[in-house]
Symmetry: C4
Subunit: 372 residues, 4 copies
Amino acid sequence: MTETKMKNMPKPNHSKDIMDRKIEHLKIPLEYDVQHSKNYFEDIKLVHYPIPDVDFEDIDLSIKFFNKTISAPICISAITGGHPVSKELNEILAKAAEEENIIMSVGSQRAGIEDSALMESFQITRKVASTIPIIGNIGLGQVSSPNFELEDFEKCIKMINADVMAIHLNTLHELVQDKGDISYKLFYKNFANLRKHTQIPIIAKEVGTGFNQDLAKILDELGFDGFDVGGTGGTSFAAIEAKRNNFNKQMYTRDPAEVFREWGIPTPVSVFLVRDVSQKLIIATGGLKTGIDIAKSIALGADIGGFAYKFLQSAWEDRKKNSISNTTKEIRTLKNELRSCLWLMNVDKIEKLKGRRDKCVILGELYRWLHQ
Amino acid sequence: MTETKMKNMPKPNHSKDIMDRKIEHLKIPLEYDVQHSKNYFEDIKLVHYPIPDVDFEDIDLSIKFFNKTISAPICISAITGGHPVSKELNEILAKAAEEENIIMSVGSQRAGIEDSALMESFQITRKVASTIPIIGNIGLGQVSSPNFELEDFEKCIKMINADVMAIHLNTLHELVQDKGDISYKLFYKNFANLRKHTQIPIIAKEVGTGFNQDLAKILDELGFDGFDVGGTGGTSFAAIEAKRNNFNKQMYTRDPAEVFREWGIPTPVSVFLVRDVSQKLIIATGGLKTGIDIAKSIALGADIGGFAYKFLQSAWEDRKKNSISNTTKEIRTLKNELRSCLWLMNVDKIEKLKGRRDKCVILGELYRWLHQ
Amino acid sequence: MTETKMKNMPKPNHSKDIMDRKIEHLKIPLEYDVQHSKNYFEDIKLVHYPIPDVDFEDIDLSIKFFNKTISAPICISAITGGHPVSKELNEILAKAAEEENIIMSVGSQRAGIEDSALMESFQITRKVASTIPIIGNIGLGQVSSPNFELEDFEKCIKMINADVMAIHLNTLHELVQDKGDISYKLFYKNFANLRKHTQIPIIAKEVGTGFNQDLAKILDELGFDGFDVGGTGGTSFAAIEAKRNNFNKQMYTRDPAEVFREWGIPTPVSVFLVRDVSQKLIIATGGLKTGIDIAKSIALGADIGGFAYKFLQSAWEDRKKNSISNTTKEIRTLKNELRSCLWLMNVDKIEKLKGRRDKCVILGELYRWLHQ
Amino acid sequence: MTETKMKNMPKPNHSKDIMDRKIEHLKIPLEYDVQHSKNYFEDIKLVHYPIPDVDFEDIDLSIKFFNKTISAPICISAITGGHPVSKELNEILAKAAEEENIIMSVGSQRAGIEDSALMESFQITRKVASTIPIIGNIGLGQVSSPNFELEDFEKCIKMINADVMAIHLNTLHELVQDKGDISYKLFYKNFANLRKHTQIPIIAKEVGTGFNQDLAKILDELGFDGFDVGGTGGTSFAAIEAKRNNFNKQMYTRDPAEVFREWGIPTPVSVFLVRDVSQKLIIATGGLKTGIDIAKSIALGADIGGFAYKFLQSAWEDRKKNSISNTTKEIRTLKNELRSCLWLMNVDKIEKLKGRRDKCVILGELYRWLHQ
C-alpha cells in the first residue's frame, strides 16, 4: 500500500518486489489476525431516544463531499493498486461505490506513475465510476523526495480524474518494513509548492497510527483540506510486517514490527483531538466495524467513516464470483445500521449528529485518553 | 409482545403469524440466553446499618399506586396476551398478583382489539383479580397510526378494567423485527387527543432500551403520569429476534438484531436521569433480579421495581403444575429480600428510601455513566 | 457464634441445637470457601522508604489497650465458646495470646449465662491467661431483650474477668439464619442503663458486614469506647448459613443467605469512615490476612488488627497435636510481617503509623468507595 | 548481588556461601518467573506524530553522563561480581558496553574488598572497557557499618577506575534473606564523611522496591548526585529468595519472601515522584523491556534507562558461545527501538524528550498511583 524507495533499485526487480508485497499486504489481513488488540469504539455508548419524530426511510444520510453529494458518509478507504489483482479489486470496489454513490479511494499511485503498465489498475476506478468522488493517493515519501515533481502529482490526479488527493503518512510502516527512504525533511517545502499549483482538495491520511493534535493544527494552517485520521483499532501495518517474516535476526533481538505492533493513537481519540483544532473535513478510519461506529465517529466530530478491511473482504469474495454483490451488500448494511442509529437517537439528518458529544457516553480507557 | 402492522396483512395469516411469534417470544427467553451482557445493578452497593431501630415484620413496604394501595412496590411487567397460552399465563400471574396484592400488567392488547376471540386472554386477568391495579398496554405504533381511534383505547381499558394504561415504546424491536409500520409522526397529535379524553393515568413504557432525559422531560410535560424505564440489563428483544432466525441474508451482511443487541441505556442510569427531570411515577424494569435490585432502584429514585423474565419463568412452571405457587413464592421472595434490605439499612418505610442516593455506592462503569 | 432466641425454646433441645450449630460454624469455614469474593486490602499499596533510620529489632509494636500494654496491635477475634470443643480451642488461643501478650476474645457468652455447665468453655481463657486483655462478648439480641438484666452482663464480665466487653451486632446473620428473635427496639434504653452501671470499656463489634458512619457517630456519643468494624472481605456468615442447608425451599425461591452473601461495607472502607467521626478505639477485623494488612488498617486509622479465621485454623491444628505452637507461630508471623512493614516504611513505633493515609496509595474499586 | 554480614562468619565458609548464593541469584531469574506480577509501563502510551521533521539516522541519542558522553541513555545495571562466573559475565558485558559506548555497572564490590582473589571479577570490566563510564557498587550495609572505612570505598573506585559509585539500598532483600546485619543507623554519619572525601559522583541505587519522594529529597540535599530508582515491575528479589527455599518453617507460618513479593513502588511512579523533588540524574531501572520503555521513562523525567535482566540473559548466552554478539545485539536493539520512538514522536534529540509528560497518556492503575 505504501512504498517509497524506487529510485535506488533496478527497475524490474523492484516492480516484482513491490508487486509481491502488494499481494502479501492484501492476503495477510485476510488470513491472519493483524488487527490491533484494543478497539476503543466499544468504550463509546450512544444515547437512545425512544420516540423518533422522523420516519425511518426519511432520514437523510446524504452529505456534501467537497462539490459532490454522496448518499451516505461512507468511504471505501485506500486498499490497493499497481497489480493485476488490484485492478480486479478496484473495479469491483469502484462499481459498487458508484452504484451506492459513496466515496472510492485508491491505494498509493506511485506504481502507476513509475510504470505506465500498472496505471490501469487505478484508471479502472474512474472508468467504471464516472460520477462518484474518487480519492487519489500518494505517499509522504514521494512528496518529500528531492526528485518530487509537480507533474507526477498531476499525473495521479489525471489517472483517475481524482476529486481529492490524499497524501498518506505511513511512518511506522516504513520504519518496520525496512527503513528505506525515510527522509521527510523536504515535505513542507514540496507541499507548499504543490498546494500553490493544485486546484483540487488535498487531505492528509494516516494509515493506522492516528493524528495528534499539534500536527493536525500545523497541516490545517498549511492548507490541507482535511484529514483521514487512520488511528489504531483496525489493521496494524506493523502486525502485517511481523507476519511477512522479513525480520533480520542478525541485526536485532526483537522484531521492531512486533514491538511497535500497538503503537499509535486510537481512532476515536484522534477524531476528538483533531476536531478540537480544525474545522476541516475529517474521515474516521481505523477499527470501524459497523454503521454504529460511523455514528459514534460523527458524534465525536468526524464527517465520514472509512473502511478498508471490510471492503477488502467483500471485494475478495466478489472477485471469486465475478460479481459486486458482496460489496454493495456491505455498503447497504452500513447505511442501514447508520440510519438505524439515527432513528434510534431521533436524528433526522446525519449532519445534525456531527460533533454531538452529548449523545455519547465515554467509558473505560477511552475516558482516560480523552481527559488528560 | 409488541406488534404494529396488522392493517396491511390478510387477517387470518396475520393472526396466525402473530400467534406463532407470541409463543416464540415466550419460549426463546426460557430456552436461550437473550439477556444483555452487562447488568449494572452489580455496580451499586447499598450501605449497611448495623442496628435496625425497627422490627423486621413492622417494616412497611406498602405504597400508594395512584388510587390503590399495594402491599409492596413490585410490578409484574407486561409479558403476554393474545394467545391461548397467554391466557393461561395471565391467569396464573393475575391470581398470584391478587393474592399478594401487587401490580399486574398485560402484554400488548392490540390482538384483543382486532380479534375479539383473543380478548379473553386479557380479560382473564381482571376476572381472577378484582382488586389489584392492572396496567393495560398498547403500542406506540397503534397510538401513532392514522387509523388510531379513541374507542380502541377505551376498549383496552374496559377489557381489563385497567387502572392505568401503558403505551409501550419499542422502536428497536420494531426495527430489527422487520421494519414494518414504523412511522410515529402522528404520535404527539394522537396522544394529545387521547390525554384529553382519558380519565385514568397513562404511563410511557420502554421495553429494554431505556429512557433518556430529554424525552422523559417532554413526555412529563405532555401529561404522561409516569414511566416504566425498561432499560438494558435484562432481556434484549434484539437478542430474541436474532434467535428467531428471521435475518434476511440476501439483504445485509450482518443481522441488525445482532449488531444492536446491546443498544440502549442501562436501567439504573435511566432511573437516575428520568428522576432528575420528573417527579412522576417511575417503574424500574430491565435486569432486576432480586429484592435488593428493587431497593437499589428506589434509592436511585424509582417508585416500583418491575419484573418480566422472573415471572415468565415462574408462571411457565406453574402452568405445568396447574398451580400459582411458584409465582406467589417468587413474589414473597422479592418482598422478603426487599424487607431484608430495608431492615439492614434501618429504613422502616419503603417510601423513605426513595431517592436516597447517599445510601448507594456507585462503582465501575456505572460511575462513568452517571458522571458525564 | 451468635444466637438470640433461647427463651422461647425448651431448654435441652435448645442447648443441643446451639451446640450442633456451634460446631458447624467452626467446621464450615475450615472445609468450604465461605470468604467474601472481594478483599479490598489488595487495593491498598503502602509506600516504601528505602533507608530505615531504626534497627529492625528496635521497632516498637507495643500499644496501650485501655489500661494494659500489649506487645503488638493484634487481637484474636471472637471465635467460639459454649461447647466442649470450644473449651479446647479457647484454651489454646488464650495460652498463645498470653505467651505472646496480645488480645484474646471469646465468642458469645450467652450459652455460659444460660447453662452454667457451659461456662467453663469461657472461663478457661482467664484461667490460662492471667495477664492479657480478654474481651467478653454478648449479642445485640440479648442486650435488646425485654428480659435483659444487668446481672447477666456482670456475669459475663466475671466469667472471664473481662477487661472489655464487646456487644456483637450480627443482624445479617440473624436474618439469614432463621429470623428468630430480631427485635432491637429496646437496645438504646437497655444500653443506657448498662453504660451507667458498667465500669469497664464496652465496644461495638460488627461481625462481617461493617460499620457505617452514621451509626458509628451515634454509638460514639452514647458512650461506646470503641469499634470492632468487622467489615466484608473475610468470612461471610451468610455464606456459612448457605452451606448449612437450612434454606426452606417451601418458603422462598432463592436462599436469602446466597442473595445476601456479599452484603456489607468492606473493612478498609469501614475503618476509614468510622475514624472520620470518632476518636475511639478501632479494631479492624474482616479479611486481614497478614501483618501487611494490619499496617494498612492502622495507616487508614485503626488501632489494632483482628483475626478470627487464621486463628481458628491454627487452633484447630494445635488441638489435634495437643499444642499451641501453630497459634504462637501465627502470632509471631503477624508480628514479624508488621514489623517488616514498619521497617520498610521507616516507622519506628506503630503508634506513629496511625491514620497516616499519606502512606497509602488507593487503587481500584476501593478508590470509588472512599471518594463518594 | 547484595550482602552485608561477613564479619560475623568464619571466612572460608562465608566466601563459599556468598559464592553459592551469587550463582543462585544469577540462575533463578533465568530459570523461574521471578518478575513482579504487574508492569506499569503498559499503562503508558506515547503520543504519535505522523510527520517527522528529522531523518531517522540523524536523531541524536547521545547524552552527557557526568564528564563522559555516551552514545545512548542506556545502562547495563549492576548484575554480578565476586565469582569466577561473574568474571566471565562482566567481561562480556563490559566489552559490549565499550563497543556500543554505553554505561556498565558492576555488582556489589564487597567480595572484592574482602578477598583480593575475587577482585579480578570486577577489575576485568575496566581492563576490557577503557573509555566508557563504569559504575561501582557498594551496599548500604557496608557504608552503615561501624567498621566502615573510607579506604574500602576508595578501593572500590580504584578496582575498576569507577566514574561513579552507587550505594545500593536493598532493605527488602536483606529482610527476606535472613535479616543478618540490618542496622543502618550509622549511614548518614558515614555517608557525610564519604561525601566529603570522595571526588567522583555518588548515586543511590534501589534494587527493585523503588524510591519514595521524601527520601529522594533528603538524599538530594545530602549530596547524592543521582538516583537509580529501581522500582517494581521487573525482577523481585523477594521472589528470588522465595525460590531459594531458605524459609525457616519452624519460625513462621508464611515465607516473608512470598508475603512481600510485590512490595514496593512501581518504576514509572518512582521516576515521576523523584523528578518532582530533584534535578539530579535519574536512571530508571526495574521492568524496562524495550527501547519504548526507555522513552517512556525519559518522558516522565528520567535521564537513562537501566536493564539487568535482559543483559543477564544475553551475557549468559554469549558465555556459552564465547562471544559478545548477543549482548551487543541487545544494545543495538534498544537503541533502534528508542530511536524509532523519537522519530515517531518527531523528537530529534533524546534530551528534548526529558520530562515531556505531555507526550504520555497515563491509563489504568498508574493513573491512580500518579494522582494522589
